[in-house]
């Protein structure tokens, strides 16, 4: 099995926050895409505190940590089921934003690294990181159609006037 899992922890955009002083900490949102509906997940940070990942408005599993270092954070992603906890991923995430919470990285756990981390290469974990962002494309195509419609009307108007002026 080439790839057991691919997790996406992504930024959420939270506007209107003041940038903290340079040596202070920041708030991050961890998001898990494509999680199976019947499974429960939580994220643990190195200090031992945990946040459960629960569906947000966009049906993406999400949890928020307050006050983490500005450059990186050690995390463990845990799946909670009837036999206990399964560590799906652990490692370091680089942070790229200190004023809006950001955790932007992708990590592929294949068999080799699963063993190295003593993580079960759980076949049940098929996180759909490669999901096509259909909503964004639909929005873009809608905008493109709107622009085309406006310009189309202009061009038709131009063609009618050109013909009239030409015949006159």
């Amino acid at each position: 099995m080439k790839a057991a899992s691919l997790l996406l922890c992504m930024a959420s955009l939270a506007h209107g926050q003041q940038a903290p002083p340079a040596d202070e900490l920041q708030r991050i949102t961890v998001q898990l895409y494509g999680a199976p509906a019947e499974k429960s997940f939580t994220v643990e940070r190195e200090l031992g505190d945990r946040v459960p990942l629960v569906d947000n408005a966009a049906a993406v599993r999400e949890g928020v940590f307050e006050a983490v270092p500005a450059r990186s954070v050690q995390l463990r992603l845990l799946q909670l089921d009837e036999v206990g906890e399964i560590e799906l991923w652990s490692g370091l995430a680089m942070l790229t934003d200190r004023s809006r919470e950001v955790l932007a990285f992708s990590y592929q756990v294949d068999d080799q690294y699963a063993r190295a981390l003593r993580v079960p290469a759980a076949p049940s974990l098929h996180v759909a990181a490669g999901q096509e962002p259909v909503g964004a494309y639909r929005l873009a195509m809608g905008w493109g159609a709107l622009v085309l419609a406006y310009l189309g009307i202009m061009v038709v108007g131009w063609a009618i006037r050109s013909r009239r002026q030409g015949s006159a």
């Binding site: 996406l8 992504m10 930024a11 955009l13 940038a19 340079a22 040596d23 190195e46 270092p69 500005a70 450059r71 990186s72 954070v73 050690q74 652990s90 490692g91 370091l92 680089m94 790229t96 934003d97 200190r98 004023s99 809006r100 950001v102 932007a104 990285f105 992708s106 990590y107 592929q108 294949d110 690294y113 190295a116 981390l117 990181a129 490669g130 999901q131 096509e132 962002p133 964004a136 494309y137 929005l139 873009a140 195509m141 905008w143 493109g144 622009v147 085309l148 406006y150 310009l151 202009m154 061009v155 108007g157 131009w158 063609a159 006037r161 050109s162 002026q165």
Partner: protein
């Protein structure tokens, strides 16, 4: 007696006069402020970017001050230093060298990020007026398309800010297209040569694009352009010869392309990435995409209908479409995961020495320039028969394309610019060994590049030499080897309890000349972190400094020779 109200001709004169030009420049600066926000805040604690290359770009700029004349950076790859013969942008380094004492690496790159798109837009707007005789305000269309494009956003997000020094392209096209003026072909020729050289020195890719523009101008206006070539060659040939000579020097310093397929895949466009931006594009594809802007695209496609009786635009439209096809690289694909139709560019990409074509998405610069020019001409042609009030909203649509369609303000991140203060306790003139630990993420190399570039960025501020190689992307650096060796030894079964191993490690570090060891504690798991700190204390003695600023915890230990002396 009141003066008569200004008529259309007076307003037109005003719009095309110096005040109109100032107004256009102000407009583009305002758009650039929104486009690259918060770069305009010039906050010294903030870097506006998303990925890791801005760190090393700033390091490169700082190296230029001492390293440019000898093309050798002494801050990295201690003790020999690192050759600068194959840097991405000699022009950015030259600007840093000229502005030494006034412009720090942070300030120069932030100014280029903020004002580069505005200057590109101003140059493209000027080009539209001179090349296709597009009047204001319709010429703004060309500026919006070229200055605030998806490919410009990629340059900001990736940290390749030297690509924003692209104003030479429209200026080159203008100078070549309009040909010799006032009987001074030599002067114009020299100017063409200078602009071509500036494009090449900004980035090799821009040099290729400038050549494509010159060839197009030559094909469209052979009589005019031919008269410029002798003068142009006088400037361009020596620069090109120097460039080739420098590039051919130290071939062994060339970047090893161990993952050309990965680079090519990431460096190409798909229909999806030309359409819009997504979170996935920024997370998985390094923000490499180029939403072309529907207003530009539709106006370009309407050009054959609207401009059929006009002259001069066809060559530019053809170049725009060819450039757009080239952005797809080897195959035309709808999305990353879909199959594709083979492209003729596949032959070019597979040629030896054609590594630079492995980022074909950069041909989008040509599309945005030429497509924007033709779009502006189309808009003007529509305005001759239609009310101005009906067409002015089209400029608004182009503005929406630039801000929302490209989405840079929503995609850019504010990275911390501060540097851990613990470095200040490191002995001057002796190399610092940065320990980030061994990464398990070797599948993508992302974490290695983050740590490598962070170490180089820190070096630009603390000034002590480092063992890291800052300009390579695929070579295992001496810093990584020693870091991994040290970590493996101290985290092994006996770890710091083995006196023979500790002695061997001290000898190794002393042999490498390490003056201090900076442990980046946050990069280790809690267990490994405790073992590393206690292990390094056994090995080198107590820490000489510890800081919790600069976004991370850094524990600084003395070098092996100091530990032995103690």
């Amino acid at each position: 007696m009141s003066s008569p109200a200004p008529g259309p001709s007076a307003a037109r004169r005003w719009l095309h006069g110096p005040r109109g030009t100032a107004l256009v420049a102000l407009f583009f600066v305002l758009v650039a402020t929104a486009f690259t926000w918060p770069a305009a805040r010039l906050d010294p604690h903030t870097l506006v970017t998303r990925h890791f290359d801005l760190y090393v770009t700033i390091w490169l700029v700082e190296q230029a001050i001492d390293g440019l004349p000898r093309l050798l950076a002494t801050g990295s790859a201690w003790p020999h230093g690192e050759s600068l013969v194959r840097v991405d942008s000699y022009l950015l380094m030259l600007l840093a060298w000229l502005g030494r004492g006034l412009l720090s690496g942070w300030l120069l790159t932030t100014l280029v990020t903020w004002l580069g798109p505005a200057l590109n837009a101003i140059a493209a707007e000027h080009c539209a007026r001179r090349v296709l005789a597009v009047e204001r305000p319709w010429s703004l269309m060309a500026g919006l398309a070229f200055g605030f494009s998806g490919i410009a956003a990629t340059a900001v997000l990736e940290g390749h800010v030297y690509f924003l020094l692209a104003a030479w392209l429209p200026l080159l096209l203008t100078t070549a297209w309009t040909g010799p003026a006032h009987g001074l072909p030599w002067v114009r020729g020299l100017l063409v040569g200078l602009l071509w050289s500036l494009s090449l020195l900004s980035s090799a890719y821009l040099g290729v694009l400038a050549t494509a523009l010159l060839i197009t101008a030559l094909a469209a206006r052979p009589q005019r352009v031919l008269r410029l070539l002798p003068g142009a060659a006088l400037v361009a040939l020596p620069i090109a010869a120097w460039y080739l000579w420098v590039f051919s020097m130290n071939r062994h310093h060339a970047t090893l392309e161990l993952k050309p397929e990965l680079v090519l895949s990431m460096g190409t466009a798909t229909v999806a990435t030309l359409t819009t931006w997504t979170a996935q594009l920024d997370t998985l594809r390094h923000s490499v995409g180029s939403p072309v802007g529907f207003t530009t695209l539709w106006l370009l496609l309407f050009a054959p209908l609207v401009l059929r009786s006009e002259r001069g635009w066809r060559a530019l439209a053809l170049l725009a479409l060819v450039a757009l096809l080239f952005t797809f690289g080897r195959s035309f694909r709808l999305t990353d995961t879909s199959g594709g139709l083979p492209s003729p560019l596949a032959l070019l990409v597979s040629m030896p020495g054609a590594a630079m074509f492995r980022f074909p998405v950069r041909f989008a610069w040509l599309f945005q320039l030429c497509g924007g020019l033709v779009a502006a001409a189309t808009l003007q042609a529509l305005a001759r028969r239609l009310p101005v009030a009906a067409l002015l909203p089209v400029l608004g649509l182009a503005l929406v394309d630039a801000i929302l369609g490209v989405g840079l303000p929503f995609r850019a991140r504010q990275a911390l610019a501060d540097v851990p203060s613990a470095y200040q306790a490191a002995p001057e003139g002796r190399p610092v060994l940065d320990c980030f630990g061994r990464s398990l993420d070797s599948t993508s190399g992302e974490l290695e590049m983050w740590t490598r570039n962070l170490g180089c960025y820190y070096q630009a501020h603390h000034g002590r030499p480092i063992l890291e190689l800052c300009l390579r992307t695929e070579v295992v650096s001496p810093r990584e080897s020693i870091d991994a060796g040290l970590g493996d030894a101290l985290l092994s079964h006996r770890g710091a309890d083995d006196p023979e191993m500790l002695e061997a490690l001290r000898g190794w570090l002393a042999e490498e000349g390490v003056g201090s060891v900076a442990l980046h504690a946050d990069f280790y798991t809690p267990t490994d972190r405790a073992l590393m700190i206690s292990g390094l204390e056994h090995l080198l003695g107590p820490p000489i400094a510890e800081s919790h600023d600069g976004g991370e915890r850094v524990v600084l230990f003395p070098g092996a020779s100091q530990a032995q002396a103690q």
